[in-house]
């Protein structure tokens, strides 16, 4: 082991690699899937288009919850506040301001981000579990406020009338492409962000906020940034969902069930990983499609599964796979690879690689 560690000092020819073979394959596969989805209006049925839009909303919501809880260490039960603001913001801009609904979705996300600034001032007064319930109260305030506004249909909600003149096929295709664009942007931007210096400090903060702070990470600013990004992304998911749904009500838009589903997706998939929510959203979507007819039993099952996973399987499915097989589709860590003496160095390199990778592969302790 000693000679092995001395090697870099003896010969300087090594390089830091970030991509893995799995990650290159993953990028290719994702591109193929994206192309397939983009061309779906020409080969898939209407239900499939609608399904994808729903799946995209769940996925983006879960990714944003994961960013907040898994990376930012802020467990919120109030993300439905921004989901609802995204939905209602889109509807108000489209119905009353004459903005195209497809443009209104990102605009509503900007509004939600602005709203999140004063909200964070209140929410950040609380920490840990108190933060979780405090954010829930804030979401309730938004729900009750909207439910009392009669122009928006009050408690029974209202419909998105701005799309009446758009032909149905065109509307469905445009919604699908918007969903694809939002998912691609969310995955891509989060990946780039987590690989950047800011992402590294965020990961450090997740593992130990005090230690990170002593290394010069501005924990307060990083938390605020994560909160705002998460609010923005969640509002995109909300706008998208209700654009596909065409109908909105305060109880549907600001339901704590959104956060419950998001938590379920992230936990099943793997907290604090990029791959986890994608896997979790697919599993959740399939469960939802085939079992939601069982109503209460289905929800009892989801709740019980969440409890069991937290107690006995906290790393989630992706956490298990990536530890067991050393797979990383979105590698955010760094690996040192030695270039000289390839044949003899190979096993040693693997060892070092493994050692260096554990930090990035390790999830919450």
């Amino acid at each position: 082991m000693n000679t092995l560690l001395n090697r870099p000092a003896a010969s300087a020819s090594f390089e830091v690699r970030r991509a893995t073979r799995a990650s290159r394959v993953a990028v290719l596969v994702l591109l193929v899937i994206a192309l397939a989805v983009a061309s779906a209006p020409w080969w898939a049925g209407r239900d499939a288009l609608h399904d994808f839009v729903q799946l995209a909303s769940y996925l983006v919501f879960a990714m944003m919850w994961n960013l907040l809880a898994g990376y930012g260490g802020m467990v919120s039960i109030g993300q439905q506040a921004f989901f609802g603001i995204g939905g209602y913001g889109m509807l108000i801009l489209a119905n009353y301001c004459g903005v195209s609904p497809f443009v209104a979705v990102p605009l509503a996300a900007v509004i939600a981000t602005v709203v999140a600034v004063p909200v964070s001032l209140v929410a950040f007064r609380l920490e840990g579990g108190y933060f979780a319930i405090g954010t829930w109260v804030i979401a309730e305030v938004f729900r009750l406020t909207i439910a009392n506004v009669s122009v928006l249909g009050g408690g029974s909600g209202t419909s998105l009338t701005a799309l009446q003149d758009v032909p149905r096929a065109l509307r469905e295709s445009l919604t699908l492409w918007l969903a694809l664009a939002i998912v691609a942007a969310a995955v891509g931007l989060l990946y780039v962000f987590l690989r950047s210096k800011a992402g590294l400090s965020l990961t450090a903060m997740r593992d130990n906020a005090v230690a990170a702070s002593s290394q010069g990470v501005d924990v307060k600013r990083a938390r605020l940034f994560v909160y705002l990004v998460s609010a923005c992304g969640t509002a995109l998911a909300g706008g998208l969902y209700f654009l596909g749904n065409l109908r909105i009500s305060p109880d549907a838009a600001f339901s704590a069930n959104w956060t419950a589903f998001g938590i379920f997706i992230v936990l099943i998939g793997g907290l604090g990983t990029l791959e986890g929510p994608i896997l979790g959203a697919l599993i959740f979507f399939v469960l939802n499609k085939f079992l939601s007819d069982y109503g209460t039993w289905y929800l009892i099952g989801l709740g019980a599964l969440a409890i069991l996973v937290t107690m006995f399987f906290p790393q989630g499915l992706w956490g298990f796979v990536s530890r067991r097989f050393g797979l990383q589709l979105f590698p955010v860590g760094r690996r040192v690879v030695f270039l000289d003496d390839e044949t003899s160095a190979r096993p040693a390199t693997d060892d070092v690689t493994k050692a260096l990778n554990t930090s990035s592969a390790a999830h919450r302790a």
């Binding site: 467990v75 039960i77 007064r125 579990g129 309730e140 209460t296 039993w297």
Partner: protein
């Protein structure tokens, strides 16, 4: 003038119920540092247990109430010992998720067993009796009993924490659960006892609540939020603070209801957020 007095009086009476909801939450926060997101659902669960005892088993109300207290203590002890002790750590995430999961399970099991209809526990005609103390100001007997119960229990909890060996164990475990083990105190057992007592408080709240109004299986989250708000408004670590917090919340909601029924709950939430911004340590913080 009478309207104002009436708002305050009714607010205090409503607040007594919230204070009662919150005391169990306050105990759990204080001893375990556990954020129990299923707190409201535990209240609703015990309401339905009481309903099953009186409605299905046809027990007299007094017998059912005594049985309920026993069942509650056992259930609280068991939930903490079997489930929540496994996930209690410095990281708030596991306990939050598990209690949130419990909340969903309880709501849906109750819906499956009892249907989604709201139900209340019959007390003869006791819940509708009242005395009129001044023109426009009427005090119901049931709210008065609730207020008395809250005051008595606040005294009892303060005494339990301040004057008994068990209370000492609670406070010591709250300060450092590793060190108390050196003194021969098992933190697992202490936690389970604390949850058992919290459940007894919840049972009293559940009984009074179910006599006051009809309860449906999905009411839990709203009750959780009221209890949480009362704890934070009052200030952590003091049962009198929680009591006061409940009053403040009750008065705020009552005032909101007076102006418009749609804004009552809303105003309660707003007062909570305002306290959070202006006085985050609460009205009666222990360390002040």
């Amino acid at each position: 003038m009478n309207t104002l007095i009436n708002i305050i009086v009714q607010g205090v009476l409503l607040g007594a119920l919230y204070g009662l909801f919150a005391m169990g939450q306050s105990l759990v926060f204080g001893v375990m540092r556990l954020t129990n997101t299923a707190h409201g659902d535990f209240i609703v669960l015990l309401v339905f247990v009481l309903f099953a005892l009186t409605g299905f088993a046809h027990l007299p109300l007094a017998v059912a109430l005594i049985l309920l207290l026993g069942i509650a203590f056992g259930a609280g002890y068991a939930v903490q010992y079997a489930i929540l002790n496994r996930v209690s750590s410095r990281d708030p995430l596991p306990s939050l998720i598990v209690t949130f999961g419990l909340s969903i399970v309880i709501q849906n099991v109750l819906q499956q067993v009892f249907s989604a209809d709201p139900r209340s526990v019959a007390t003869g005609s006791f819940e509708s009796q009242s005395i009129t103390v001044a023109p426009g100001i009427t005090l119901g007997y049931l709210p008065l009993v609730t207020l008395a119960a809250t005051v008595v229990l606040a005294f009892a909890m303060q005494w339990l924490f301040g004057r008994t060996p068990l209370g000492r164990a609670f406070r010591a475990t709250s300060d450092d659960r590793e060190i108390v083990q050196l003194m021969g105190v098992s933190y697992r057992r202490t936690y389970a006892l604390a949850m058992g007592i919290a459940f007894v408080l919840i049972a009293v709240a559940a009984a009074l609540y179910s006599m006051r109004t009809a309860v449906s299986p999905t009411d839990g989250p709203a009750l959780l939020l009221y209890a949480f708000e009362a704890v934070i408004i009052g200030g952590m670590g003091s049962f009198w603070g929680t009591f006061l917090g409940g009053m403040a919340l009750g008065i705020a909601q009552q005032a909101g209801f007076y102006f418009d029924p749609g804004w009552g709950i809303w105003l309660g939430h707003i007062v909570f957020l305002a306290v959070l911004v202006i006085r985050p340590q609460g009205l009666l913080p222990k360390t002040a």
